[in-house]
Symmetry: C4
Subunit: 202 residues, 4 copies
């Protein structure tokens, strides 16, 4: 239970950071919440990362759904706090233009690939265990990807963040499939490469 | 005694950073002072954190008042240095507008909750002891909260900082209750959740 | 083989960061990729660093060419992704003005010297082994040099990055010799100084 | 000898960073050079820090002068590179206005106090030995002080940096006494407080 509370709190602050502070706010929130919760839940805060950690073999299949539910619940609570407590409402225009779907898909795929690749190597590899940089590397990846390719997709790299932003109105629900498919796909590819590159860790 | 000198020096630079350097100045000052003083006093520099550390069980009840006095003394000395040595005087307008009290309360509660949550997990948990990231995580939380929700309350997340800024004139004394109540409340909630989530640490 | 895949992936994201995110994008990409791949390949991502690591004695001469090929392949794939997937085309004007060749050479020499000096001392020295700061120090060097002297040469400090940017059009192929000669020269000097300063490491 | 080469190289890049990159450039250069040279020379790069380390008891009195000479030599070489290779010449106007001497003195005293306080506690204390954050804390102090009180004195916190900037023309030689007296004074006070606060380290 304490792992699910940790995932909910972490994703809540991550989504508040993303809506009210953009790429910098999201990456700072992710850094602090990874360092605060990593020792309890592994600090995924992201359904795509939970999938990558499953493929890598560090959580069981039965835990995936409760992790996902906790993450989405945190994202939705954040959207409600932002919308109803702080009165910040967005809505209407989609972040992704009609002729930008391919670029957005590529950007989300590459960004979530990079995020899962860094998470697995910095936080779930034997050779790097006990390090102090994992939170900085993970949050830094969101910042790097937001800066470098965030313009093409809004820079979620996280289906729960995309859902929270869609509920709050910063993203459109019509594009949620893209964040889910590209995000899970990029994370799964990173997990496969991790397994090939770290055979002694399996 | 050396713990109280450390708390005074740390809070002094934190409040100088907040008045003259805003959220970035405060968070940088906090990072460096946490790394400089953590091994001596625990580097609270914040009455709300001292309360959270008390609830978590890492300091005794008798130490709370001297910690608080050291922190407030440091904050007041900083306000005097800024006002009389550097001649930076503010005053008059309150940071929080009349119709923004609820948002300001929510922002201070959430921000101090996040700060205490990160402090307890990164600096006072068995599973993370000996890490090198605690100062970065703690200062990073102030930066994250200042960026994400600082606009609603001025972003103190610390009753001593609020007192220092009120003395110097950047904050109004009429709102000091809000920084105290929301700050202590948010920190206390974080400490309760820490106890639930880390049962083996008690 | 897994080392070459790691070098290719890391250099790919480094060059994407450099083209689409400038000095900040490149340095953030380098930080995260050093932390992700350091335990597999040593995380050079740079032919000049591979040369410095060879002189320092941490890789064999036979490995240099495959490292270089992997790095250049990653850089070229990044240039193609940026140019054809994200449609970002540059071209025409050279970064280095005709009367600025000497300054550009000095800047690339100093910048790559600093980078190799930091890499060798932070990531390949006995006295600092097991630290958690190496990625931050290495990526921070690219950021520092880009900010301080990047204006004179475009700030590559890396022949593979220069090749990728030349293919994509941000740099001119006519200046590629400068990035190669100054980069390899600066890195070689840093390796010689490392050997003098760390006699017990050899 | 290798310690003096290390001090010269580190101070050279620090002063180049300060002249061409301001407070951000100086602090980034300091972070990377502290991580690169700390294990060889202790990475002072600053005559005031060398004094503080002497008072703290970590170097011998005979080493002070060679350290100071190496630091000033590095600063002067940096000034010459900036002035004659990169053709960046300043000169004429002093950073400190005539009626701002007291504020400048207070700022340099406070800034160098903070720097020496952080250096001693993060890099020369038993309780924090082996940490990975010392470079970040030390460079972060220069950034914090530059942001918070740099406007009053130009933000050297380092007599060698002040000498290098005076030679290059960004500072006036008529104020060099201030950087020396306030810098050595602030650092000495920090060393005395360190000795009081860390009695078991002596």
């Amino acid at each position: 239970m304490r792992r699910y509370i940790t995932e909910l709190i972490g994703t809540l602050f991550l989504v508040m950071g993303a809506i009210l502070g953009g790429g910098v706010g999201a990456s700072l929130a992710l850094i602090i919440m990874v360092y605060a919760g990593g020792h309890i839940s592994g600090a995924h805060y992201n359904p795509a990362i939970t999938l990558a950690v499953l493929i890598r073999g560090k959580i069981g299949a039965k835990e995936v759904i409760p992790y996902w539910i906790s993450q989405i619940a945190g994202a939705f609570i954040a959207a409600l706090i932002v919308g109803y407590v702080f009165d910040v409402k967005s809505g209407g225009d989609c972040v992704i233009p009609d002729d930008g779907i391919l670029k957005a898909f590529a950007a989300e795929f590459l960004g979530t690939f990079a995020l899962a690749y860094v998470v697995l190597n910095a936080a779930f590899a034997k050779a790097t265990s006990g390090n102090s940089y994992y939170g900085l590397a993970i949050g830094g990846t969101v910042l790097a990807m937001a800066l470098v390719i965030g313009r093409y997709s809004g820079g979620a790299y996280n289906p729960a963040v995309a859902a929270g932003l869609s509920l709050q109105g910063s993203f459109c629900w019509t594009h949620i499939w893209l964040y889910i498919v590209a995000g899970l796909g990029g994370a799964a590819l990173a997990a496969v490469i991790f397994r090939l590159n770290n055979p002694d860790d399996l």
